[in-house]
Symmetry: C2
């Protein structure tokens, strides 16, 4: 059915080796031969069979992207950007979702890993030991997870948080609330506490809850009953819940309370009022992760640690503190 290298070879009057070379190492074949081969290939509509290619070469030309939840609006732009980057470098991206469950993560990785040259593990929940094993078996890049000796992409919220703190301070806020929607140590809470303290802003922490819209609803009710004039939420989705509940309670945003999200997803730009948030650039993140993985595959990455920053995007949900 499909046209093979053999047919191209006989059409061009050369051997299969030459056709192969014409595609993989064009400088090793004479210009006129090259052209004949190319014409024949074009005429027949030939393109190499990736299965055969990977069988022989041991390389699949794909990168595996393992993320917690593709339905989280933070990830699609990353997938998209990574796809674009990968394509330019001759790779395909195979994305898979673990549904935030540890059990599924192992299964997913097992299913994907056979078909890719390397893995990008986003905020993996796997124990360090497993990650180490995985890293020994195949090129692996960890995002937002640290294991000594493994390649890592670290997304730093520090700048964004610092800018948020300055922003709030400039508006005269002094009492802030952080809605923590994440369990465990590696979260966003630590760096937020530190930065706010350094800026001399009082910070009350709510939670930890789950990173869901309803968490925001609940937290907003608590905040409305208190004295705080600014809320920093774990992410945009939670911030949206906060916004929603404030509207319901008649609490003015930003007149009575200012609200800040994190991630700068589509949600933030389209909410009412539009949401001040801390942006993590999908392009930067995706590009850095893809490049790091490709370097690791080529043996040049090997435990390198790359970093990505963040910044505040001021919108309509923040304003002067009341009074």
């Amino acid at each position: 059915m499909a046209v093979t290298i053999k047919q191209v070879a006989s059409a061009a009057g050369v051997s299969v080796s030459t056709v192969s070379r014409a595609f993989t190492a064009p400088d090793q074949v004479q210009p006129q031969t090259l052209q004949r081969v190319r014409e024949a290939a074009a005429a027949l509509g030939y393109s190499p069979n990736p299965a055969a290619r990977s069988l022989r070469g041991g390389r699949t030309g794909s990168l595996g992207l393992i993320i917690p939840d593709i339905a989280n609006p933070f990830f699609p732009p990353i997938f998209k950007a990574m796809q674009a980057r990968a394509r330019r470098l001759g790779y395909t991206v195979l994305a898979a979702d673990t549904d935030e469950r540890e059990y599924d993560e192992l299964e997913t990785i097992a299913a994907v890993s056979k078909q890719v040259d390397g893995l990008i593990l986003w905020a993996s929940t796997l124990p360090e030991e497993r990650l180490r094993e995985l890293g020994a078996e195949m090129p692996t890049v960890l995002v937002n997870r640290h294991v000594e000796g493994m390649a890592e992409l670290r997304i730093s919220l520090a700048q964004g948080i610092a800018q948020a703190a300055e922003h709030l301070k400039a508006y005269g806020h002094t009492r802030c609330v952080f809605v923590n929607a994440e369990h465990g140590e590696h979260g966003r809470g630590k760096s937020i506490r530190e930065v706010f303290e350094a800026h001399d802003l009082s910070l009350t922490e709510l939670g930890p809850y789950d990173p869901r819209f309803e968490t925001g609803l609940h937290a907003a009710t608590l905040v409305a009953a208190g004295e705080a004039t600014a809320v920093l939420a774990h992410n945009d989705l939670v911030a949206l819940g906060v916004l929603h509940q404030f509207a319901k309670l008649g609490v003015g945003v930003p007149d009575r309370v200012s609200v800040i999200g994190i991630d700068d997803t589509l949600l933030a730009a389209t909410s009412t009022p539009s949401l001040t948030t801390i942006r993590i650039s999908a392009d930067e993140v995706a590009t850095a992760a893809a490049d790091l993985l490709i370097d690791t595959i080529a043996g040049r990455g090997e435990g390198r640690v790359a970093g990505i920053g963040s910044r505040l995007i001021p919108r309509a949900s923040t304003g002067p503190a009341p009074g």
Copy 2:
């Protein structure tokens, strides 16, 4: 590096053929032999090399999903659901984005088609002739596109729109606006016009514009200046723009104008006020599309047409007409 069938064979003291059979046709091998093979495979951590398998068998075990824009919040849940369904049936889903550009679509399809057993083309912009060619080359399922003789999944908004019309009518609305954000004939406009007319509701059409947030902002300004009391937007994103602008203009929702979206994305549930919208079930759609494609691959699908319905999800953005 990786463990092959040969190693398993010698570990189990059988031939490679037997190991292969143990995995692909377990009933053709004696129970005790089967167990020995399985134990050996488990001990070595063997799993078949997909590249070798597809090279020999001509099947890749992957489904290709070509969508206009993965960053459109409508698609991630579909991708997710399809992945879940496909996995249960022994398939992997390879998703790719065309960025809404026709040129990219061809290129994307070319890149993907070599690595999958079949294609799901979502709202393809390709000319009918190309689609026909594609369908001749490989199993293809069209979503929201019709080409005689090709397998098709048709998402019908008819019920949802009818319910929306009834809903508005019951609330006493008579003058409605449809914000069209799509060019071409195959769109949502036709069926909306028909249904609203059948329900005796006057319908003014704005556009066509592009399906973006800003379209909603613009349309809302026009609506606010007019007499209409209800807006049906092309999708949730546009509806959110409408909501946003109404808030800015001080136009009460739903007191002065009711707003309805389409798709029931995350945006609709989390907006302020929450958005009444027409739901297209991601699970149903993804399952139906995957099943249809798998049937087509197996030669059982062949130009079948499957249908998926929709329904209204009433939320807080609709209410009684003013006066």
